[in-house]
């Protein structure tokens, strides 16, 4: 799982670099616009330590934000699964709020909370929260009649059992959603760092952008890609381990 993910990323990344090189040499662009491979390699050697630390910083914020959003999404999704007025209210509110681009709210957070860790964390959590919430709401609201009928008919159904049944029956879907939300959390953190933060790989990209240094940006993209590939592979692995332990398959 892990080597495959990393290998896939390498293929995509180097195809992208190859495309840039084709563009550079076919249009005879200068090294200032698109650096030559040797220049990129030198930038990599010079910057990989700083960019690695910045990527780990960003990833840490993204992971904490994702964990928070998944916990919140499950709490709200489980409450909102019911056909009560509260459940309907949560569903309607979630569907409407998720239609709004959350990233547009980022400046408000920077104004109110400054450009530190908390702001980045909130943006990361908010961006990956709503897609996870909608998936959890969809899964938790859908009865598994052929299993639940017995427990309802005999008066044994409790909300914990209902949640357990629906989680178990949709384990693959939930694993995919949670693994996918890692990308959203990372994107949210980077976008936050673009806007106003003072740390992280998004902040480094912003500085590289001001210097019009495409080489640094490409190295930053490499760091982001490899980190997210490893993180997603670990999430999928964790999902597979949980599934095997729970389903026996």
């Amino acid at each position: 799982m892990l080597p495959r993910r990393v290998f896939q990323f390498f293929i995509i990344y180097f195809m992208f670099i190859g495309g840039l090189m084709v563009l550079k040499y076919s249009l005879e662009l200068s090294d200032y616009v698109i650096p030559a491979p040797s220049g990129m390699f030198h930038i990599f050697l010079a910057e990989y330590r700083r960019y690695s630390l910045a990527t780990i910083n960003t990833m840490t914020v993204a992971v904490i934000g994702q964990i928070l959003s998944v916990i919140m999404a499950f709490a709200i999704g489980i409450t909102g699964r019911q056909s009560t007025w509260l459940g309907s209210f949560i569903k309607v509110a979630a569907y409407n709020i998720q239609a709004y681009p959350i990233v547009a709210l980022a400046p408000i957070l920077f104004i109110l909370l400054g450009d530190g860790f908390l702001t980045r964390l909130l943006i990361a959590a908010m961006i990956c929260y709503f897609p996870v919430l909608l998936s959890v709401l969809g899964i938790m609201s859908k009865p598994i009649d052929d299993i639940e009928h017995f427990y309802r008919a005999t008066g044994r159904m409790r909300w914990q059992l209902e949640v357990k049944i629906r989680t178990f029956e949709n384990l693959s879907q939930l694993t995919t959603v949670i693994a996918g939300s890692a990308t959203l959390a990372m994107a949210g953190t980077i976008v936050g760092e673009f806007i106003a933060a003072n740390a992280g790989i998004g902040y480094s990209i912003r500085i590289a952008l001001y210097q019009s240094d495409l080489g640094k940006i490409l190295i930053a993209l490499f760091m982001i890609g490899i980190t997210i590939a490893i993180y997603q592979a670990l999430l999928e692995l964790l999902g597979a381990v949980i599934k095997r332990a729970w389903t026996g398959r």
């Binding site: 052929d146 017995f150 389903t247």
Partner: protein
């Protein structure tokens, strides 16, 4: 104890014509009873009306002395996170655990009861599901194709065991096997196809029990009666 259905009419939501009209019958004694008829005539719908799973019907249902009515069917599943035996123990009163062991043996599930539900064959799944319903505290149990995918000798063994172990309980057995319902059921509500009036006819079955012999003449007479009614 009795179950009385009087002039039951049911129409699917959005349908123009009713699925059935004027279905009236009564079951006054515990035992094995049956709903029999072709697919789509309303056997399952009537079963769900009786247990209260469908309430958009007209007519009167009286369940005098019948406190708990359960409906089971052959599409039900047990959760897959642990073995079938463990699930059964969790939903059965400790006082019924001896009966559980006995039923597992009679139902031919001893070798596979610790397997997870999805590792069982369809016939084994149906038998496990039926056991958990049988061991609930209920007065009437509707078994909708509950022994589907089970071989005939085992079905016969199971039905006779159920009749012997739960003599005070009402059972409504929904099946497409005419010989089976004729042989084991006390009364058979035959759903008639097409536009025949009345839409249902109650026929007495042979109602054989363990160690009872059934004459082929009696069985033939019941079969003939069912086929004529249908």
């Amino acid at each position: 104890m009795s179950l009385v259905c009087d002039n039951i009419v049911f129409t699917y939501p959005g349908a123009t014509y009713p699925l059935f009209t004027d279905v009236s019958f009564q079951l006054t004694a515990p035992g094995f009873h049956s709903f029999f008829g072709p697919s789509g005539v309303g056997k399952t719908s009537l079963a769900k009306i009786i247990t209260g799973d469908i309430d958009s019907h007209s007519g009167r249902i009286s369940t005098e002395g019948l406190k708990t009515l359960l409906y089971s069917h052959n599409k039900e599943r047990l959760p897959g996170w642990s073995g079938a035996g463990r699930h059964l123990k969790r939903v059965i009163q400790p006082s019924m655990h001896a009966a559980l062991v006995e039923l597992v043996e009679i139902f031919g599930l001893s070798d596979c009861i610790d397997s997870r539900f999805d590792q069982l064959s369809m016939g084994q799944q149906n038998r496990v599901n039926l056991i958990r319903y049988l061991l609930q505290d209920c007065d009437l149990l509707i078994m909708d194709e509950s022994l589907a995918n089970v071989d005939e000798p085992t079905r016969e063994k199971i039905i006779l065991a159920i009749k012997a172990m739960f003599p005070q309980r009402f059972f409504i057995y929904i099946s497409h096997n005419v010989i089976e319902v004729a042989k084991f059921c006390e009364s058979i509500l035959v759903f008639r196809s097409g536009t025949k009036e009345p839409q249902t006819v109650m026929i007495n079955g042979c109602n054989i029990r363990s160690r009872e012999e059934l004459s082929s003449a009696a069985l033939d007479a019941t079969l003939l009666e069912i086929m004529n009614a249908a």
